[in-house]
Amino acid sequence: MVVGAMLAGAYAFFRRRASVLAGPSAADSEPHHIEFEPIREKLLTPTNKLLLILMAFGAISLLARFALGLGGSTHLSDTYAWGLWIVFDLVWIAVAAGAFATAGLIYVFQRKDLYSMGRSAVLMGLLSYSFVTVTLVADLGLPWHFYQLGLQAPEQSAMFEVSWCVGLYVTILLLEFLPVPLERWGLQRAMDIWRRWSGAYVALAATLFVYLLSRNVLYAAMAALVFSFLAFRARGREGEPIMLAIAAVTLSTMHQSSLGSLFLLMPDKLGPQWWSPVMPISFFLSSIAAGTALVVLIEMWIARAWKRQLRITQLSAMGKITFWSLLVYLVFRLADMLVRGQLSSAFSGGLGALFATEILLGGVLPLVLLARENLRTRPSALFIAELMVTMGIIFNRVNVVLLAMRLKGPMPQFTPETYSPTIFEWGISIGLIAATIFLFGLGARLMPLLPAERPQQGD
C-alpha cells in the first residue's frame, strides 16, 4: 500500500513534469502572477469576540477534562467508548482534506489557476489538523504513553497508521505553510534553509513512515531512494514545493482511507448501508469532495465577511472538481452496495431514512446543481451545492460513528447505555473550532494569506 501510494506520487510527479515539458513557455514565462497581502481589518469584531468567548469555554473544558478524568467530564461509557470527539475528528479530517487536494491540484496537476486559494487552504488544513491532535490528546485515556507509538510496531493496526500519518502530515502542513510567515517577516536565512532542506525532510519522513509500517529495512531503503531521487530532481524548481505536495497527497491518501479502515472491525455493529469491505476507499473519495467543497465555502465566506471580490471563475473550477470527486464517490459506493446485494434493502427502516437523506440531500441533489456550468458560476447555487456536499459528508461521518452504530454494550450485551455528550465534550470541540476560525482570521490580518485586491476582477 505504501509502495502503491509512492508510485502514485511518483507517477503524478512525472505527469507534472511532462506537462511542464510540453509547454515550457506557459509554465516558466508566466509564473503565478498573483500577489498576496495581509488584509486590513479591525481584529476585535463582534464575531471575533464571540469566538474568543467560545475559546475560553474550550480552555475551561480542556482543564476540566484533565482535572475530572474521562469518566467525570464525559458521558462516555463501555457502550459508547467513542463519542462526540471522535465524530469531530473524523468530520474535521474529512473536510480538512481541502489542504492536500488544493496543494495537489496546484503543484502536482499544475492547476495554477487555483493558486490564489492555496495559502488559505493550507493554513486551514494546518489549524484543523493541529486541533484534531489536541482533541485526540483530550480523548486518549493515557496520552502520556504516546511515545509507545514509536516503540511498538503493530503494522496491522489502522489506529497505528492513522496516528503516524496524521502526526507526520501536521509537520508537512507546517512546512507547506512556513514560506508565508518567512516571507512576511523577511527571514531570508530561514527561507534558504527551508528551500534547501524541505525536500530532504520529505524523504526522511517518507522513509521513517515506510519503516514504521513495515519494519523492513529493504522497503525503507527503497522509499529513501525513490524520495531522495524525487527530492534531488525537484531541487531546481524554487518556489514550487512539489516534494511537500507529493508528501501531502501520499500521507493524506493513507490516513483518509485508514480512518475508514478503523470501522472494518465492526461489521456486527455498523449498519449495512455504511459497513463495507471497501469503506477505506469510500472515506478517501468522499474526503476529496468534502475538502474541495469546504475550500469553496471558506472562500465565499471570506469574500462576504471581509467584503472582497468573489473569484467566481476559480470557485466554479473548484466546484467542478467537487462535482467529479462526488460523482466518483457516489458511483463507487452505490456500485459496491449493488455488487454485495445491499442496495435493494438499503432504503428501508430507520437506518434507511438516514441513508436516503445522506445520499439524496448530500449527494444526488448537489450533483445536479454542480453539473451545469451556468448554475456552478452562480454564487448562490454554488454556495448551496457545496454546503450540501459538506453537510452530506459530515452526516456520513456522524452516521458511521454514532447514528448507524448498533452498539450492544459490554458483555453480555443485553443492556447498552445511552449517550449524550456533556457540556465539556461540546466545550472542547466547539472551542477548538472557534480557535481555528479566529486564528485563521488573525493569520489573514498578519500575513500575506489572501490575494491582493485589484480594481477589476482578474484570475
Binding site: 500500500m1 505504501v2 502503491g4 484533565f66 478524568g69 474521562l70 469518566g71 467525570g72 462516555l76 461509557s77 463501555d78 467508548a81 467513542w82 480523548d139 486518549l140 485515556g141 493515557l142 496520552p143 504513553h145 504516546f146 509507545q148 507509538l149 516503540l151 511498538q152 510496531a153 503493530p154 503494522e155 496491522q156 493496526s157 489502522a158 489506529m159 497505528f160 496516528s163 509500517l213 513495515s214 523492513n216 493513507m254 482511507s257 485508514s258 475508514g260 479502515s261 478503523l262 472494518l264 472491525l265 465492526m266 461489521p267 456486527d268 469491505p277 471497501v278 469503506m279 477505506p280 476507499i281 478517501f284 454494550g409 459490554p410 458483555m411 453480555p412 450485551q413 443485553f414 443492556t415
Partner: protein, 277 residues
C-alpha cells in the same frame, strides 16, 4: 500478534453450561485473583439474581442468569447460568486494533494487556465482537481491563520441596499444572469448567456431545466463531437463546475475506498484516 503454531499448544477452558449451578464461585475467585473492587449491588428485574448486569473494569468474569420457558421444567421455567468473560480469540480483533500492542495474544493462547504500553484510545472496546474490554472510567489514568486467562499465574515458580523432601518429577509436574490452572477453573465446584490444551478440550467437548446427544445441542461455541477462541462452550439450548451473538463468525469472515481477496489498495487490512509491504 503471535500466530498459533503447532509447537505451542493453545491453553483452553471448556464451559459446560449444562453443569453450571450458578454459585458464582468463579466470579468471586476471579475478583480475588485480579484484586478487583466490589460492585454496588443493583438488581434488575429482567436479569433475576444476576449481579452485576455487565462486565466492567471491576468485574472480569460474570455469571449471567437465564430463565427459559420450558413446559417440562418445574414452574415452567428452565434456569440456565453461563459464565461470561473474554473468549481469548485465536485471531483477536482487539489486538489487531491496538496501535501499541498493549493488547497482544501470547503464543500459548491468552490475550493479555500491558498497561504500560496502552495510550487509552479505547479502539479495542469497539473492535471486540463480544464487548469484553472495559475501561476504568472513574480513574484519572483509565486503564483497560479484561480477563487474561490467568496468564500471570504461569509466572509463579512451583515449589521445589515439600516438608524438606525434594519433589519427584511427577509431583512437581502436578504442582505446576495446578498452579497454571486459572482461578475460575480451580474454584468451580460443579465440574462445569475444565482446563487443558485446545485440542484436548475440543475432543472432550465432542465426546460429551456424542455420549449425550439428547443433552447437548450439536454446537461447540468458539470452535469456529471469530476464527476460533480458546474459551469454548457447550449448551443444552441453542446459543442465541443465551444471548451469544451468532453473526460473529459470518460477519467477521467478511472482514477477513477482504484481506485475502486483495483490496489492500484502499487500506483494507484491519484484520491482517500489510502483506504488500
Amino acid at each position: 500478534m503471535t500466530q498459533p503454531t503447532s509447537t505451542t499448544p493453545i491453553k483452553a477452558t471448556l464451559v459446560d453450561i449444562t453443569k453450571c449451578i450458578g454459585c458464582r464461585a468463579c466470579q468471586v475467585a476471579c475478583k480475588q485473583w485480579n484484586d478487583r473492587d466490589g460492585e454496588e449491588t443493583q438488581l434488575d428485574f429482567n436479569l433475576g439474581f444476576q449481579n452485576p448486569a455487565t462486565l466492567s473494569a471491576k468485574t472480569l468474569t460474570l455469571i449471567t442468569f437465564h430463565e427459559l420457558p420450558d413446559e417440562k421444567a418445574p414452574g415452567g421455567l428452565h434456569y440456565l447460568f453461563t459464565m461470561r468473560r473474554c473468549l481469548h480469540c485465536l485471531e483477536p480483533a482487539c489486538a489487531s486494533a491496538c496501535p501499541t500492542t498493549a493488547l497482544d495474544r501470547r503464543s500459548d493462547g491468552p490475550v493479555i494487556y500491558d498497561a504500560n504500553k496502552c495510550i487509552g484510545c479505547r479502539y479495542c472496546i469497539w473492535a471486540c465482537p463480544w464487548g469484553v474490554p472495559t475501561a476504568e472510567w472513574d480513574s484519572l489514568a483509565p486503564k483497560i481491563q479484561k480477563c487474561t486467562h490467568c496468564a500471570d499465574r504461569t509466572e509463579q515458580p512451583p515449589p521445589m520441596a515439600r516438608n524438606g523432601q525434594a519433589l519427584t518429577d511427577e509431583e512437581s509436574k502436578q504442582y505446576r499444572e495446578n498452579i497454571v490452572t486459572p482461578a475460575c477453573v480451580k474454584a468451580c465446584p460443579a465440574d462445569c469448567l475444565s482446563f487443558g490444551t485446545r485440542d484436548e478440550i475440543l475432543q472432550k467437548a465432542r465426546n460429551r456431545i456424542s455420549d449425550h446427544p439428547d443433552k447437548y445441542v450439536d454446537h461447540i461455541y468458539g470452535e469456529k466463531e471469530a476464527g476460533g477462541t480458546s474459551v469454548l462452550y457447550l449448551s443444552s439450548v441453542p446459543f442465541e437463546k443465551l444471548g451469544f451473538p451468532e453473526a460473529v463468525s459470518g460477519a467477521f469472515q467478511t472482514g477477513a475475506a477482504c484481506r485475502t481477496t486483495g483490496c489492500h489498495g484502499g487500506g483494507c487490512y484491519a484484520r491482517g498484516r500489510l502483506r504488500i509491504l
